[in-house]
């Protein structure tokens, strides 16, 4: 066999029922076709997860996956992907987290970790190079994230070992539970509930191996080129200073700030909210992984008052938007605290904010009464409601037990006409970007494989309103400056290429913001070629991206999803009820079905059903 570079060619398979730990070889030909990250995981989980299983039963599998670029040396290389069948949506599930965990798993000598079955008691897994073992985690139950991480590190006598764990919410199978990697989250899709359903409370990892590199000198040169690009890039400089949070005011002005449970796409309050955060509560910026040259993370604190928090990592754009605009709250301190609590209890901030917004609207319309919600005043914008509801959802207390199922199931259980207030796609609550700012996002929201997601694979509005081309004009994407953000025709074809490209950071486990900062797919191809010795160019990467999107789609089709599920909620298509764009008829989405028809044709999918055709699958070497 030829030498394999960029990989160890090994994965750990841990069966929690038998406590068996296997070190398996990986077929190199699969790695060549799928590379790593969500690509390799899509192949494995499509083959190994039976159709129709309940994601919270032992038959589900949870993968932690790396790629050849998972190393702190490579710009954007510090991350891990988690893949699973989602208990929130019953679709393909994936969730990314930046940090040192991914590089440490890789340097322990494993390209992937597969968790199967269910332990008969709570456990945590430790991976220390070849030494892999399982420990009881009964003493961790009920504890919040920071405390859990400290206990694990103290027990292992290693203050630096990378630790991921679920919070109390994951233990209680809350369907929006996340997995926390120290201060950062693999947030979406209920991955924390999957881990909790397996009685796996945490994973700790460290390693000492170096990934074999095919062309070390070429890699060094390519890294230097990338770092130079980043040093000279305004977006990178801006991300360091303002983080993603700095986009709040711009997105509000752009009509890209869903407000009051999607009644509007703007509010006019973001500027004051952001600058209060920036001037009073931002402690410093922070790199999620050691050596990140952008370091967009936020370290925040609310020093005093009823929304006091310790110094902590959090307060990103999505999180603060979820706890301000979504719920019509003008108290930034309450939003910061709510984010902090989500991280400590272990729930997704986006879904939590969306669920609270749904609840507030039900309350406003008399569908929920005060006595049904624990006596909390759920008037729009009440900041005191936020910490209460975050706890109730996380611990399944009172109404929180129903809300912990996500807005789709909560509205089905509640009935009383609440369905129209549940804003989601395939069960995943909508994030803090609005397709009424740029309609490419409408198609990506409707078709993303993990549900209504803005970033997996693509922040569509960044193309037609932000005018970012991500270096893709050479691959057929029109110059975004020739495109009107509110046009609907022609967008479907563009989305196909954008998705094929922007899934590549998820396949290669690189931070997507690096593409925003000028590290395009051609650079990723050069990095990958230098590491693996494979001669890969941007065109081949796009083909792999297309292959993976289609395989994930097949996963969903097998679960019964069809064209009808590729939808936008009605409210999301309407002219905003207030804000900067209330008189702008062009921002309403008039023909989503027409956009979808065009997109399906561009994809080579059956227009009636949305299923990839046999010809397309053959072309992509995805024969059933």
């Amino acid at each position: 066999m030829d030498s394999l570079y960029g990989y160890f060619g090994k994965q750990l398979r841990v069966s929690l029922d038998s406590k068996e730990i296997l070190k398996e070889n990986i077929d190199a030909s699969i790695l060549r076709k799928y590379l790593g990250g969500v690509g390799y995981a899509a192949r494995v989980l499509y083959d190994e997860i039976p159709k129709g299983i309940n994601p919270l039963l032992p038959e589900n599998k949870l993968m932690f996956i790396t790629s050849p670029l998972t190393t702190n040396r490579i710009p954007g290389g510090g991350s891990i992907m988690l893949c699973f069948k989602s208990p929130l949506t019953n679709t393909w599930g994936e969730s990314r987290c930046g940090g040192d965990f991914g590089p440490n798993l890789k340097s322990a000598g494993y390209d992937a970790l597969i968790i199967e079955g269910k332990s008969d008691h709570p456990v945590f897994l430790v991976i220390d190079d070849d030494h892999v073992f399982i420990r009881s985690a009964k003493h961790l139950i009920g504890k919040k994230i920071t405390e859990k991480i400290k206990i694990i590190r103290d027990e292992l006598k290693d203050p630096k070992i990378s630790v991921s764990c679920i919070g109390p919410a994951g233990e209680k199978l809350v369907k929006i539970a996340n997995v926390m990697f120290e201060g950062r989250a693999a947030g979406r899709g209920g991955v924390g509930a999957v881990m909790g359903s397996k009685n796996l409370i945490g994973v700790a990892v460290k390693g000492s191996h170096q990934t074999p590199i095919a062309q070390p000198e070429k890699l060094t040169e390519t890294i230097k080129t990338c770092l130079k690009i980043l040093r000279e890039n305004d977006f990178a400089t801006n991300l360091k200073k303002h983080g993603t949070t700095g986009d709040m005011a711009a997105n509000d002005a752009a009509g890209d700030w869903p407000t009051k449970n999607w009644h509007s796409n703007s509010w006019g309050k973001a500027e004051q909210l952001y600058y209060r955060f920036f001037n009073k509560h931002l402690v410093k910026n922070h790199g999620c992984y050691t050596g990140c040259p952008i370091a967009c993370g936020r370290i925040s604190e609310v020093r005093e008052g009823r929304f006091k928090t310790p110094v902590h990592e959090g307060s990103e754009y999505e999180s603060l938007s979820a706890f301000t605009a979504f719920v019509f709250n003008e108290n930034i301190e309450a939003a910061i605290q709510a984010t902090y609590l989500c991280n400590e209890f272990g729930i997704d901030t986006i879904s939590a904010g969306a669920i609270i917004a749904f609840t507030m609207e039900c309350y406003e319309n008399g569908i929920l009464k005060k006595e049904e919600v624990g006596g909390i005043d759920l008037s729009w914008g009440n900041p005191d409601a936020l910490p209460e509801l975050v706890q109730m959802i996380s611990l399944r207390e009172g109404i929180g037990d129903m809300l912990a199922e996500g807005v789709k199931i909560a509205s089905e259980k509640l009935g009383r006409g609440s369905g129209k207030y549940a804003i989601h796609g395939k069960g995943l609550e909508a994030p803090a970007h609005d397709p009424r700012s740029g309609k490419v996002l409408g198609i990506t929201y409707g078709t993303a494989n993990r549900g209504m997601c803005h970033i997996h694979p693509l922040e569509g509005m960044a193309y037609d309103s932000g005018k970012m081309d991500w270096g893709l004009m050479k691959y057929g994407v029109p110059d975004p400056n020739t495109i009107d953000r509110w046009d609907e025709k022609g967008k479907g074809k563009i989305v196909k290429i954008l998705q094929d490209a922007l899934i590549l950071p998820d396949i290669l486990n690189t931070c997507k913001f690096f593409i925003y900062c000028g590290i395009y797919i051609d650079h990723l191809a050069e990095l990958l070629s230098a590491v693996t010795g494979w001669n890969i160019d941007g065109q081949e990467l796009l083909k792999i991206g297309e292959r993976v999107i289609n395989l994930q789609r097949l996963f969903n089709m097998r679960e019964g999803f069809r064209r009808d599920d590729d939808l936008l909620p009605e409210r999301m298509k309407k002219k905003p009820a207030f804000g900067f764009y209330k008189n702008e008829g062009r921002c309403a989405i008039k023909d989503f079905e027409g956009m979808l028809d065009e997109y399906y044709k561009a994809r080579g999918w059956d227009v009636k059903t949305g299923i990839p055709t046999k010809e397309k699958l053959l072309e992509l070497e995805l024969e059933e």
Binding site: T244, D247, A250, A253, A254, D256, M461, F580
Partner: protein, 78 residues
Amino acid sequence: MKIKVKLYTILEKYAKGKVLENNTIILQKDTTIQGLSHYLNIPDNIGIVFLVNDSLQDKEYRLHERDGVKIFSFIGGG
């Protein structure tokens, strides 16, 4: 005419040397937003949105004495 201009985040650098203290700028009468943008050397190929007195305006809008202009580049949030 004297107007107030504020540039946000990624656009902050275009204020240097052009926008005076107290965020003021002196322009010729009847300057449009497009004219202001060119004066500040803001590139045409990035997504920009303009608020004048907290209302959305397009590039053809003619500015008036004491108008307050906010200029944002919209990209994404993550």
